[in-house]
């Protein structure tokens, strides 16, 4: 069979191929990625989708935890202040109950207790970024309102008993809030109600039912401390879950890099090879392009 006289077409096809291969290799080198199209490695591309999804979930959970940590810390510090205030109230009530104080002293203690009650009320109405912390799901309404018209004064709860929780990527549920009725106006340990009773007891200048109410206040104090443990647990669990999510994201990123990254030395070698092939082809084309036998005939 005769040699194809139009060899230039073949040679330029080969030139196109080496050029395309060079472009592909250069792209891998510059991006550092082995898979630049899903057709390059379908399995790796599919695994990458799953990895990206998990990494994004972990990242978004880490962001959420930094927001909710603020909320939980505000809640915790509010409850800590409540405990401090209640301890003060207890020591005042103990003074009032020891039978050595006169009527005006008792009235003064009543006024101090009213101050503590107002402080606890304002702590119960704590808000974080404009959202009331102890209102259940009713975060836009002031949770507790005081009515001084009655004796003892009464406190009304305007929130509900809703409890929010945050789900970690591993599926554990972390409690984010304590509804106010559970902390401050519970039936078994009514913090604000007991304070109001004590204020009313000593306002008359006598101890009244101060002893019984002081005992109730002690119960309420213990109860608030217990409630605070729930929030402290949540903070600890949230920190642990956030750390775990960050660590998982780091590991997954490492796996992803391993899966997708180009082997630079190997790609460089291939690129050098493709370049040599190309320059060899160009030389062949240049040599073959130098005329035909007709040029020799003219002599």
């Amino acid at each position: 069979m005769r040699v194809d006289p139009f060899y230039v077409v073949n040679l330029s096809n080969s030139l196109d191929q080496t050029q395309a291969s060079q472009e592909q290799l250069t792209q891998e080198l510059s991006s550092g990625l082995r898979v630049t199209s899903i057709g390059d490695d379908p399995v790796a591309a599919a695994q990458n989708v799953q990895l990206l999804n998990s990494i994004q979930q972990d990242d978004s959970f880490t962001q959420t935890t930094s927001l909710t940590q603020g909320l939980l810390q505000v809640t915790d510090s509010a409850l800590g202040s409540v405990v401090t205030q209640l301890n003060q109230a207890l020591s005042l009530a103990d003074q009032a109950n020891n039978g050595t104080l006169n009527a005006s002293d008792l009235k003064a203690i009543s006024n101090q207790l009213a101050g503590i009650r107002d402080e606890v009320l304002s702590l119960a109405n704590t808000n974080y970024q404009g959202q009331y912390v102890f209102g259940g799901s009713q975060t836009g309404t002031t949770p507790f309102t005081l009515n001084n018209a009655t004796t003892p004064a009464t406190v009304t709860y305007n929130g509900d008993s809703d409890v929010n929780s945050l789900q970690s990527p591993t599926g554990q549920s972390i409690q984010l809030n304590l509804p106010g009725d559970q902390v401050f106006t519970s039936a078994t340990a009514n913090v604000l109600g007991t304070l109001n009773s004590l204020v009313a007891d000593y306002a008359t200048g006598t101890a009244g039912s101060g002893v019984a109410d002081t005992a109730a206040l002690n119960t309420a104090l213990n109860y608030v401390s217990q409630q605070r443990v729930t929030i402290d647990n949540s903070i600890t669990r949230l920190n642990a879950a956030s750390g775990a999510a960050t660590e998982q994201a780091t590991q997954l990123t490492a796996v992803q890099t391993n899966l997708m990254q180009a082997d630079i030395p190997s790609v460089s070698t291939q690129l050098a090879l493709a370049q040599s092939q190309q320059s060899a082809l160009i030389n062949v084309i240049a040599a073959l392009g130098q005329g035909s036998l007709f040029d020799k005939l003219q002599a």
């Binding site: 069979m1 005769r2 040699v3 194809d4 006289p5 139009f6 077409v9 073949n10 096809n13 199209s37 899903i38 057709g39 390059d40 490695d41 379908p42 399995v43 591309a45 599919a46 695994q47 989708v49 799953q50 999804n53 979930q57 959202q131 009331y132 209102g135 259940g136 799901s137 009713q138 975060t139 836009g140 309404t141 929130g159 509900d160 809703d162 929010n164 929780s165 945050l166 789900q167 984010l176 809030n177 035909s292 036998l293 007709f294 020799k296 005939l297």
Partner: protein, 188 residues
């Protein structure tokens, strides 16, 4: 060709998004099952429009929610601080409701299937291109005009012509010699 049909089916499946529509419907249902920031209770509205599912309807899919306050994060009837419905919506991610798979599994499978088709098509394309080039080379080798061949032929014909003309010259001198009876004359 078979490969082209496979590919167009694959892309059509991708663009048709029948299954994706199920996902959007689920998201819409979730948004209509809670309370939003502007007081809607169970009627917060769709996040995505939901065109009737016919061939090509996916092209009309779009986000119709314009007010972020209309995202129903709270459970039905609960205050704005609740997040139970948001948790329900977030859990859609782990539920197998797209062709019996979770959305990310489904998408991952789609990528892998489409990638395999792309890879297969590329391989076939390379093989067929090589085959076409080879056949073109064969055709050209049979039908193409080679200047070297022509030059060689030309040279051959010129030599033949010269040889033939030389024969005539010799014959001419033979006849002239015969006519003049061996006497050298000026007449050829």
């Amino acid at each position: 060709m078979e490969i082209t049909t496979n590919l167009s089916n694959e892309i059509a499946r991708y663009l048709d998004l029948d299954t994706r529509q199920i996902q959007l419907t689920a998201a819409n249902m979730a948004n209509n099952a809670g309370s939003d920031l502007v007081g809607d209770n169970g009627n917060a509205g769709n996040i995505f429009n939901a065109p009737a599912q016919v061939a090509g309807s996916a092209a009309a899919l779009q986000v119709v929610l314009t007010d972020p306050n209309k995202i129903a994060a709270a459970g039905l009837g609960l205050g704005t601080g609740d997040n139970s419905n948001a948790v329900v919506a977030a859990n859609l991610a782990t539920q197998a409701f797209v062709n019996g798979q979770t959305p990310s599994d489904f998408y991952s499978n789609l990528v892998s299937t489409l990638g395999a088709t792309v890879s297969e098509t590329t391989t076939q394309n390379t093989a067929l291109t090589a085959s076409v080039t080879q056949l073109q080379t064969q055709v050209s080798s049979l039908s193409g005009v080679s200047l070297d061949d022509e030059a060689a032929n030309l040279e051959e014909f010129q030599r033949s012509y010269q040889a033939a003309s030389q024969t005539f010259t010799i014959l001419n001198s033979v006849f002239a010699s015969a006519l003049n009876l061996g006497v050298e004359t000026a007449v050829a």
